[in-house]
């Protein structure tokens, strides 16, 4: 399912009557089966964009098309939209609402037409995918979990439905390093079987290593978009420091020391292989 965004703008009405322009005239296209990362500083409109994409807010102006059909048009079947799009919110707290973890994850399966056994298996699969021991956690209250565990349950509740499009707002914040890798690995696998993935993150490594395309927001505007590697290389020139991967920063520091200079180093793997070449004498040195 391809997604097309045209001149999308969104303003929050502030209580005092003034407006906060959270998104300004954003346009882009996401192809079926893409893995898109959204990055940008705090308050740049990422969450707002995702909520619009999921059809949870109405744009102030502009249009959103799924497979050429406008989702906010009158006759559009919203229920079908809900079936195809799964969203995990930034704040897991309000996403968990059932009395037990098992019921919570099963919530979205009610109308999926699965038999009871199939549904239980699906819940087990989702929770185990997110690194839980199903038997241990199924009867716990989702609110009596640690911060990271809550987020994992929230994610499990959405992946259990196996939607065609998965939208994640800051999914790895609060996950431990293994949890992060596990999650990203899983998402990549889903992506390879055709699921479209859209994810915001403040973690440059996650974006650089896993996404295919990147959208960069700043103060509500789309300031860059393109293949992940290219965007990162461009960003290096635009910002100094923060919005770079560690590998990029190290490559720059090495270049200052007249060692190995390669603008193509973006990921850990890049750096490792460049260093191997350089330090075993195979390089220019």
């Amino acid at each position: 399912m391809s997604i097309q965004i045209e001149n999308l703008s969104f303003s929050y009405l502030q209580p005092s009557g003034e407006k906060v322009d959270a998104l300004k005239n954003v346009s882009f296209t996401i192809e079926t089966g893409d893995f898109v990362g959204i990055m940008g500083p705090t308050g740049s409109g990422k969450t707002t964009l995702l909520q619009l994409l999921a059809g949870l807010r109405l744009p102030t102006s502009g249009r959103i098309y799924f497979n050429g059909e406008e989702i906010n048009a009158k006759g559009y079947d919203r229920n079908r939209l809900r079936q195809t799009v799964g969203v995990v919110f930034q704040d897991p707290e309000y996403q968990l609402f059932a009395t037990t973890v098992e019921k919570d994850v099963a919530f979205g399966l009610k109308e999926s037409g699965l038999s009871r056994q199939e549904a239980t298996d699906r819940v087990r699969w989702a929770l185990e995918t997110m690194g839980f021991d199903f038997e241990k956690v199924r009867n716990q209250s989702p609110l009596a979990l640690s911060g990271g565990e809550k987020r994992r349950v929230a994610i499990a509740g959405v992946i259990a439905r196996k939607p065609e499009i998965l939208i994640f707002d800051e999914p790895i914040a609060g996950l431990d390093p293994f949890g992060r890798e596990n999650f990203l690995q899983f998402v990549t696998e889903r992506n390879q079987t055709g699921t479209t993935i859209i994810m915001t993150s403040h973690n440059m490594e996650a974006l650089a290593e896993y996404t295919k395309h990147l959208l960069v927001l700043k103060e509500g505007r789309l300031i860059d978009a393109g293949a992940t590697r290219e965007v990162f290389t461009r960003l290096k020139q635009r910002y100094n420091g923060a919005f770079q991967t560690k590998a990029q920063r190290i490559a720059i520091l090495l270049a200052e020391g007249k060692l190995m200079f390669s603008p193509a180093v973006v990921t850990y793997g890049d750096l490792l292989s460049a260093l191997k070449q350089e330090l075993t004498g195979g390089g220019r040195g």
Binding site: T42, G43, D91, E149, D176, M204, L272
Partner: protein
């Protein structure tokens, strides 16, 4: 010792079998910068909630700044000296307007009225949230909330500051800023206790406490804890970037002189290695 804990055990289901903390000993000196690492559910938040007596001590002993956390009369004084930035900023807000929220803590300690607005404003300036005084906390973005939550604690200027994943939802710039604030507070003599999932943030700490399944697995300098692969594996954590690179290079037959912890150290080691061949 500023914080002295012995044999702390805690179970959320009181009297239950599952323990969130098991026999934890804790020693933190005045002015120390301590990082607490551990995987999800390892008991980090549970442990620090004991320090300001948000959770009641069930077993063991704990004294913070010479105050026994069980002493209900003095708990209030304890909280004046021990501020905490919550893991979820929504849990920390008590007022419907940003400036009111930051003033709340100040009013509790009877800070004179005429000082309050100045302190609120300077706290907001420190986290770069000036101009948001009149906003409702629930209309802020995730990162903005986290900054305001931090300002609420900074305004009180407590002696011990606990950061429970205070950078989880910040952008890289914001994270750098908060780390700088931590370091500045540390230099000013404050005791800092930081929980984080970004191993890199723990590198600057004086001491790392490594938690796993409610126990303290290790406690020591970043050098001894973070470069120990077996230990990290046991704690189900991934070592920092430079450490990983060091060991991966070793696999390829490249032996750097010593295991670097920071990016700068890594570059230095590589340059040294290069100059030798």
């Amino acid at each position: 010792m500023l914080v002295e804990g012995k044999n702390i055990c805690y179970s959320y289901a009181f009297g239950g079998f599952s323990f969130a903390l098991r026999d934890v000993d804790l020693n933190i000196a005045r002015g120390e910068f301590v990082a607490i690492l551990g995987c999800n559910g390892s008991g980090k938040s549970t442990l620090v909630k004991h320090l300001n007596a948000l959770l009641q001590l069930q077993q063991g002993e704990l004294k913070v700044a010479q105050i026994d956390v069980r002493n209900e009369k003095e708990v209030w004084l304890l909280r004046r000296r021990c501020g905490m930035v919550f893991q979820n900023p929504d849990h920390q807000f008590v007022a419907p307007v940003v400036e009111e929220d930051i003033a709340f803590g100040l009013e509790n300690y009877e800070v004179p009225r005429n000082e309050i607005s100045g302190r609120v404003r300077s706290a907001l300036a420190r986290v770069e949230m000036s101009g948001y005084e009149k906003r409702a906390p629930n209309t802020l973005s995730g990162g903005q909330k986290q900054r305001v939550a931090l300002a609420g604690v900074l305004a009180l200027d407590p002696e011990i500051i606990i950061f429970d994943e205070a950078t989880a939802m910040l952008d890289p710039d914001g994270r750098q800023e908060v780390i700088k604030i931590m370091e500045k507070l540390h230099r000013a003599g404050k005791t800092i206790i930081a929980i984080t999932h970004y191993v890199e943030e723990a590198v600057a700490a004086d001491k790392i406490i490594l938690m796993h399944q409610g126990r303290v697995l290790a406690c020591g300098s970043p050098q001894t804890v973070l470069t120990n692969l077996d230990l990290m594996k046991e704690a189900e954590l991934i070592p920092p970037f430079p450490v990983r690179l060091y060991y991966d290079l070793q696999q390829a037959g490249i032996y750097l002189n010593r295991c670097p912890l920071t990016e700068e150290e890594l570059v230095e080691e590589i340059c040294q290695f290069k100059s030798k061949i």
